[in-house]
């Protein structure tokens, strides 16, 4: 019961944020340079036809009026039509979001799988050369722009070493996308029992996921190290060790579980970063995700698309934070008990 009331409370707390997001998004897109009316009116239009198109698009109304219309559209789930692709924005988001999510999740899995062991390793041998080495390695990863790492990987692994497949997007030219169940190629191909496609999709996703993951190794590894150190130094660990429990049991069953909380917090921050970094990585790898869509939309001042993008990213982020809060209560049963 407590957990549900906590979720309910968090949701209510999120509402003002969402209202703020909607307002900020609206203002931001209206402030973008460029005039969609000119774009829609076509290459050879004159002042008059542009004015007509502007009226048809509702852009000649006052700002508050436009905002009201925008809210009405949102309530109906109508996010407008994208100038650059000609499709409804909702449809674009629905097809592109899984692509970005899949990439982000694989990158996260890679990052967690690398950073956590590194952090634990460093925590068990504090101030040794291993500790310093881990610190230097993860800091190096976070010091390069993410697109540079991506391009560098493409150059080394595709162009020179011929190990990676061509950076052509989610799946190679000669494969057809698996039937849509979740939108995640890796999962869908497994559901369809198609190992060839699975391997192809996996091959395409490795390089971009690693590029993104490398960047977030540092905060994850550091936080793991810090909280593990704190956990390892506490009384109950000493008791466990004194009781003769094996080293691995002490480490994983007790210390790690207790160290998880701050790591979860960092995960939230890491996810936020990754949603933004998608934009850069997708450009390098021709990944048809939401990030590359957003960049194109910004450049042509595609109002509806930019609005849809920012809105969906922000809401996604709120949902992720909520999920992390729920995870908290699972990891630490004490939390749900608070009033």
């Amino acid at each position: 019961m407590n957990r549900f009331s906590m979720i309910g409370r968090r949701l209510t707390q999120a509402i003002p944020s969402i209202i703020g997001i909607i307002i900020v998004t609206f203002l931001l897109t209206r402030a973008l340079p460029g005039d969609p009316a000119v774009y829609f009116a076509g290459p050879a239009a004159d002042e008059q036809s542009i004015a007509e198109v502007r009226a048809a698009l509702g852009l000649d109304k006052s700002l508050p009026e436009q905002f009201w219309l925008y809210l009405g559209d949102l309530a109906r789930g109508d996010l407008g039509v994208s100038i650059s692709t000609g499709r409804p924005v909702l449809e674009e988001l629905a097809t592109r979001l899984p692509a970005s999510l899949e990439l982000t999740l694989v990158a996260l899995v890679f990052a967690i799988g690398t950073a956590l062991p590194l952090g634990i390793l460093a925590a068990t041998r504090p101030n040794s050369w291993i500790d310093h080495l881990c610190r230097v390695v993860v800091t190096a990863g976070v010091s390069l722009p993410v697109f540079f790492t991506g391009l560098f990987f493409v150059y080394i692994f595709y162009y020179i070493a011929d190990l990676a497949p061509s950076p052509l997007g989610r799946i190679d030219i000669y494969f057809i996308a698996p039937d849509h169940v979740t939108g995640f190629f890796l999962i869908d191909s497994l559901i369809a029992g198609d190992l060839e496609t699975f391997r192809a999709a996996l091959a395409q996703i490795i390089l971009p996921a690693v590029s993104m993951g490398v960047f977030v190794l540092a905060p994850l590894a550091r936080m793991t190290r810090a909280s593990m150190l704190q956990a390892l130094g506490s009384d109950y660990i000493r008791t466990a060790q004194a009781s003769g429990l094996s080293r691995s049991k002490v480490l994983f069953a007790y210390a790690f579980r207790n160290a998880l909380l701050p790591i979860l917090t960092t995960l939230g921050m890491v996810f936020s970063f990754m949603l933004g970094a998608n934009v850069l990585v997708e450009k390098v790898f021709a990944w048809p995700g939401i990030g590359s869509y957003a960049v194109n939309a910004l450049i042509v001042s595609d109002f509806a698309a930019v609005q849809g993008f920012v809105l969906s990213m922000a809401i996604l982020f709120v949902v992720i934070n909520l999920a992390i809060d729920v995870l908290y209560t699972i990891v630490d049963p004490r939390i749900g008990m608070e009033g």
Binding site: G20, V24, H132, L280, M313
Partner: protein, 295 residues
Amino acid sequence: MAVIEQPDERTETALAAWWRHFRYVVSENPVTLFAFCLFGMFVFLAFFGPWIVPFDPLASDTSSALQPPSWKHWFGTDNLGRDVFSRVVVATRLDFMIAFSAVAISFVVGSVLGCLSGYYGGWTDRIVGRSIDTIMAFPLFVLAMGIVAALGNTVENIVYATAIINLPFYTRVARAEVNIRRHAGFVDAAKLAGNSDARLLTFHLFPNILPPMMVQVSLNLGWAILNAAGLSFIGLGVRPPAPEWGIMVAEGATFIVSGQWWLALFPGAALMLAVFCFNLLGDGLRDLIDPQRRT
């Protein structure tokens, strides 16, 4: 009889004590020393760079375009024949300026907002809190992208955008720390002594919240530079022909595949070194100020 010299605890100045602590920390952790030296070098280059470089970073010479590193051009030349070494060195100033201005603004504004909302509570707290939550709800780079796209890609706007997205952290920390100490003994004492709220906040409360912030400042410096580089990559960075590491990497990236690796590698290495330096500096500062918080 020999006189044995001992550090006289009473007369040792604060500065000397601090220096002794510094030397201790550095000896424990040589990487920190390395970071401090690197930082010093960068600051030197930022100040004196334009005077010590061999070529004019803006002078083009298309007849010697795209030449690999040589004795004449240590880092080679770019597609307009400009000397890459000179550009990389001169870029230090612009990048450091962007980073320091952005972080300074977000630090100052964030701390003020945080202190006020933590001290007064009530509506101030609520309004500031909601605004900060709204900012934090956006993935940071997306927000920076949107702001620069809307306002135009000048250096000022890039600085403002970076400052805005870094604001929430300082506000939250300031608020939390001030909130905890709001009713502490020394605060009540100062109030009794007749200090105004402003004096109280500035001279009594603020110094106590500095330690956690200082570390974040150095981390944010690195992040600000990377942010500017990312914006350049999608076409929203500083305007040409200004030399800036981010835009040099973004433009040089297109030359990698054709084999002219030096256009992207050297600015990229400089950028990485600077961010690296800031990150390690953050660690060192943390050790200096509050060793218990080390991660």
